[in-house]
């Protein structure tokens, strides 16, 4: 699967950059290396550029370049052992907030990227 096929909110792990040379080297330099994880934050209108969060930082790229990155889709409800780098992720640690909600809902909040359904 290619990075360009993803939509907002989807998490991925980089398998490899399929193209060497200038573009491939630039992508690798910027951190698109095997095993790197990230997610698509948003996309511009009409299949325009994508905003990707890769490890600690955000970058924007055209679909054309995103087609060069082969990825595997990570399951939507993110595993608990996600990298601690996700400084922006909403994690509600209030006991009642966790306890009162059905399991599936909790995942929604995080899967759909920073609680688009409202802050907990």
């Amino acid at each position: 699967m290619l990075l360009a096929e993803l939509g907002p909110g989807q998490k991925f792990r980089v398998l490899r950059v399929t193209f060497g040379g200038e573009i491939g080297k630039r992508l690798a330099d910027l951190g698109f290396i095997s095993g790197a994880e990230g997610h698509v934050v948003r996309a511009a209108l009409f299949h325009g550029p994508m905003q990707i969060r890769l490890a600690d930082y955000d970058l924007i790229m055209r679909r054309h370049e995103a087609k060069l990155v082969e990825i595997e889709l990570l399951p939507q409800p993110v595993p608990v052992s996600e990298p601690a780098s996700e400084a922006h992720t909403v994690i509600d640690i209030r006991p009642n907030a966790i306890g009162m909600r059905p399991k599936g809902m909790r995942h929604l909040n995080r899967g759909f990227h920073h609680g688009r359904f409202g802050r907990p």
Binding site: G21, A28, I33, A44, D56, Y57, L59, R62, A84
Partner: protein, 710 residues
Amino acid sequence: MQEKRALTIALAGNPNSGKTSIFNAITGAHHKVGNYPGVTVEKREGTLEYHGWRIHVVDLPGTYSLTAYSLDEVVARDFVLNEKPDIIVDVLDSSNLERNLYLLLQLIELGLPVVAALNMADEAAAKGILIDDKTLSRTLGVPMIPTIGSRGQGVTELLDAVIETFETHKMPRMPSYGEDIEAHIAALVRLLEQDEAFAAAYSPRWIAIKLIEKDPDARRRIEQHVRAAEIHTALEAAWHWITLHYGKDAEIILSEQRYGYIHGAVAEAVHRKRLRGISLTEQLDRFVMHPLVGLPLFFFVIWGIFKLTFVLGEYPVAWLEQLFGSLEGLVQNSVLPGAVRDLLINGIIHGVGGVLSFVPLIVILFFCISILEDTGYIARAAFLTDHFLHAIGLHGQSFMPLMLGFGCSVPAIMATRTLKSPKERIATILAIPFISCGGKLPIYVLLAGAFFARNASTVVMVMYASGVVLSVLSTFFLRRTVLKGQSMPFVMELPPYRMPTLKGVLWHVWEKTWSYARKAGTIILAVSVLMWLITSYPKARGIQEYEIHARQSVAAAQPGLSETAISARAEVLVRQYQLEHSIAGQFGKIIEPVIAPIGFDWKVGVALIPGLAAKELVVSTLGVLYGAPVDENSESLSLRQSLREAPDWSPRIALALMVFILVMPPCFASLATIRAEAGDKWLAFQVVYSLVLAWVISFLVSIFGQAFGM
């Protein structure tokens, strides 16, 4: 002790790492801006005295890596390789450490002592990232100094570390690529070291790594090596082994190995706390980058900048005009001889005034742009508009310069500096002159008003729209011919929003203004003087007799006129007579055969010449040629009358002339700016291209006009 010891620092770092603020904090006010030799990449350098040291700081372009693919990266590494600074200081964005350490590893490989600044320490802390700088420093063998560049914190500690590193010759630890790749590197190094001159010039290890990374520049360099053939064989073996073993291209594997090394170093030294809540950046971006809200917001921002620049800018421009007006009066009433007075007023004062009249616009515009740049908005605007602009061969960052072109091409062309991709930048620069600037409006108003009285505003609007269409078509065409080629990969960092510092913004404004004055200002002044020269020399023979004759005929034609009215009308005739006999007048007659097919006579030819100096001058030159009174307020009105009554004019000619002026090369100030930003080659191209295009399009307009009986 008294003798100053000298030391040169090269300041490196990622874009958005706060490198500029560190540079400003180190050098203070003592710095200058130039260019790296032979390229348009800006070079900033400064010197400071510190504890008996004279430290020279050179700011390298901000880069993520040191490949040979981007001009900035080539400039940065060539400077280090050729100039061999004493120390490299790498500014790291602590909040984004791993990607920043990637550049640090490559700097270490260049084989010079390195000191690192852990900049934006405050931002990292806010993100919950705690860095143990001692451990990190020990692991990498590079001194790590926490700094906050925007507040100048940690700068003295940084300088102390630089001096200590210099005195102790402390070398960083070379990053390892793992046993197998290291064996291939070692084999290449052994071969490279056999050419002593070569090994003295470049660090063999660095060349070996770059060769494995398929760096085209490194491969060119080893052509001169005495063992070039054996090196090629060893290199092929290394590539073959890596591809076989890892199943990927060698250049990708080396990047991955570097990141692997970094992960190892960071695992020990960096601790992260999970933070609650959504960052402010993310909250803002939900609006700013929203698919539907973002674009209107962006248009509003552009509109605001436009208004601020060209409406607010009018006041200082008016003050400058007043100042130069009174200066003019002073010279006019002085005792200087006539010709000198004339040169001072019409050549120099008008020229300097012309140069300075752009300064308020540039100051305001770059004040706004550098705020947008420093906050991180420019990258977001590129995200929103890239899709549409990419379709015609431009870049998301082309949008703002093009919009500014409606005001004035000079600051618009300068605003293309935010574009990093050379081809798209040139394409944007060449597209801007077709956008009707403020200077073209008076011509449209005059001609449309004179010949299309009922539909004047529609005609003016059509001219503006044609300019936009032409600029799109032209770009589309150029990007498929002379500017052919893949656009640069659009992969940009999206930095978090940051508060710009007033000092940083003011520096930026000063640099831009000064570079305009230095690069474009001098040419504009020179050309103004030249324009004055060719419109007022050679002095027409028998001009005194002509003046007497003119007065007599005016008085005879309209008896009962006051003495001042007669003088005024006679002066118009004299000016007309003088212009006709000047170099410009002669030139107009020479080019008449060329422009005759369009339907233009020599007078139009003459009017177009000062049009090169400034489009507004076309109107006043036509005024002189068609004998309109010199009074500036009524000029346009009575000129309309004169043009309508002139036998050789018709709506068709007026339309063709408007089109010609829309397409023809922009004013000299813009041409000087194009030269400063894009070089002589593109200046020449722009002039020839737009002249030919102007002729062809206005010729077609004229023919169609004739067919429709205009």
